[in-house]
Amino acid sequence: MDKYYLDKNALAILNVIIICISVCIIVVIKYLLYYKLAEYNAVKLAIEIVAAGLVTIYVVWLLIILPMWYRSVCYTLSKDELRINSGVVLRKLICVKLADVQYIETLKVPIFYKASLNFLLINISGKRVVLKYLSNAHLEELYNKLIQFGKDRKSKA
């Protein structure tokens, strides 16, 4: 049985993206407050409370929940099946029979080659399962193993 975890480089990129989005939202809110809605004190207060709430949620999510989720995700590949464990509060387990796999796709972002923004999309009957934020090496390894499994199954049949 082989176990694969999410790559830490992708977490750093995700943090940067989330911080940029947060800064943009805060700037827009400040602009609204002090330039467009300067006359309406009640509305200003409501928006400031909402903004404070959003910032709190963002900080909690960024510093606590996201790293916890990141560490909780584990992909386990055995002879006949692939197991995906994830979730912080609600733990989720997905088992995929390798015999039901139709075909496999890879999704990469070449510009951020070192950021490990790689996804493996496994298409099974009526559904698609996504393995996220794999490192380049793990992506190649998983892809080759799944392809080899498909070839072995065909030759047995």
Binding site: Y103, E105, T106, K108, V109, P110, S125, K127, G150, K154
Partner: protein
């Protein structure tokens, strides 16, 4: 690695490109060919047009594919690069389309579907379609091994069958006559009451309706004409879509061709067909004709067509065609039949509407004629439903053969005979309400594999018999 046909660049630029290009070009004529003044005014538009064109060309360039004997490999995208490889053994349907616009350029639209294909996801449909040249198309057919048997079995639908099929299955047909009567009659009653309020709307409509002389009927006439036009369009679309319908059976599956302006061709892998569905409504049942549809991932859901196998024919001819074209799908007679008819719901509505009309017309005496009219229309509908449910009791049941299961049931106003290979059944559920527990019956729901799980509910089956059948 090969690229798609260059015509696809015009598809990628989309409508906004032409909306910008045509006024820019027209500007040359309005500026009397003074290029300097023309350019000074439209330089920004030209830059935007060039950006759209360059991005379309780049999008075309970064889509590549490769064919070999066992699989097709596709690479798409520059910023988000997507690679996938589909082995031919997992393919359920291959679809080729030659739209009218593409034919002079010898381009063919091509889509490969597997059991993981989900027709409701529009992005997937657009994503997985390639536009290839004729030479690539022939090579795909060659590599995938679409060969005909020595004596190919053909089924060719006649124009008469297609006309009947399009008439019966056009989307507004059954509602058209009903709605037309409802609107014309209803408007004559209601118009006196609210005529002042909607007079301005009627005025606008009557200006365009040269034959509507009476104000009270003009609005109704306009709506009926709109609905009629919509039905005619639906009928024409369906007829042209299924024109030249032909099925050919070969070693690995079926080849289906149809279409007049846009020509469609499907190769369906027989082993991936989930089930065959023979559909009838009351009219077809009395005439002993059926329409056969198949469920296979990607078949006819690509291109927004119906999943037709045989458009319309007699029951005997349909059975004979199925035996020739799909020998693995054998119908069997009912081993277990329905114990009771599901008449309670339509009967409740029939009585409820009658009582409701009586009650409401006593309270709102001013609106009596409208209430009675609406009540009659609803009563007709529910009485028809009641007749359908009583007829369904005679035919509902489950039959079992060596390899297949035959399910006969009624859903809404339509009768279904579904033949499912046992290998394509995901699971079977038996459901009982408290009333069914007393009467000793149950609902059997058979879920088949395919694009998501599809359930076929057979109601009112004898519980003990079905349990005995499933255990053995």
């Amino acid at each position: 690695m090969r690229h798609q046909h260059k015509i696809v660049i015009l598809k990628y630029v989309k409508g906004k490109f032409w909306l910008m290009l045509l006024p820019v070009l027209r500007g040359i004529f309005s500026w009397k060919y003074d290029v300097y003044y023309w350019f000074r005014n439209v330089w920004m538009d030209i830059i935007v047009i060039l950006i759209i064109l360059i991005s379309a060309i780049l999008k075309w360039y970064f889509v590549q594919f490769k064919l070999n004997e066992k699989e097709i490999y596709v690479r798409k995208g520059a910023l988000f690069r997507r690679d996938f490889c589909i082995p031919f053994s997992v393919i359920s349907t291959v679809c080729f389309c030659r739209p009218l616009i593409f034919r002079p350029f010898k381009a063919v639209k091509f889509c490969v579907c597997t059991d993981s294909y989900r027709s409701k996801k529009r992005k997937q449909r657009r994503r997985d379609t390639l536009v290839v040249t004729e030479i690539d198309y022939l090579q795909i057919c060659n590599n995938m091994g679409f060969e005909k048997r020595g004596l190919a079995t053909d089924y060719i639908a006649s124009k008469k069958e297609l006309l009947i099929f399009s008439t019966l299955f056009s989307s507004t047909f059954s509602g058209l006559i009903y709605l037309g009567t409802l609107i014309i009659r209803g408007e004559k009653i209601v118009g006196e009451k609210i005529k002042i309020k909607i007079f301005s709307v009627i005025n606008m409509t009557t200006e365009t309706m040269i034959f509507a002389k009476d104000n009270t009927a003009s609005f109704a006439v306009a709506v009926v004409v709109i609905i009629s036009v919509a039905w005619v369009m639906s009928f024409a679309k369906s007829f042209l879509r299924h024109m030249n319908f032909k099925i050919r059976s070969f070693e690995k599956g079926l080849e289906v061709e149809n279409g007049h302006f846009s020509r469609w061709k499907y190769y369906v892998n027989s082993s991936k067909i989930n089930y065959i569905d023979l559909r009838q409504n009351m009219l077809m049942k009395t005439a002993h004709i059926v329409s056969a549809h198949i469920s296979c991932a990607g078949y006819k859901t690509v291109g927004n067509g119906q999943s037709v196998f045989i458009p319309v024919t007699t029951k005997k001819q349909a059975a004979a065609a199925m035996k020739e074209l799909l020998p693995g799908f054998t119908q069997s007679n009912n081993l277990v039949s329905a114990k009771q008819a599901r008449v309670w719901m339509p009967l409740t509505f029939v009585i409820g509407v009658f009582v409701g009309v009586k009650y409401l017309s006593s309270i709102f005496s001013e609106w009596r004629s409208l209430i009675v009219f609406l009540g009659v229309m609803l009563e007709v509908m529910f009485l028809y439903l009641l007749a359908v449910k009583i007829t369904a009791k005679l035919t509902t049941g489950i039959g079992v053969s060596e390899e297949t299961l035959s399910l006969r049931y009624c859903k809404a106003f339509r009768f279904h005979t579904v033949v499912v290979p046992k290998a394509r059944i995901a699971y079977i559920k038996i459901q009982r309400t408290p009333f069914q527990q007393i009467s000793g019956s149950c609902d059997v729901i058979v879920y088949t594999k395919g694009e998501g799980l599809r359930g076929h509910r057979v109601s009112g089956i004898d519980y003990k018999k079905i349990v005995f059948l499933m255990r053995n």
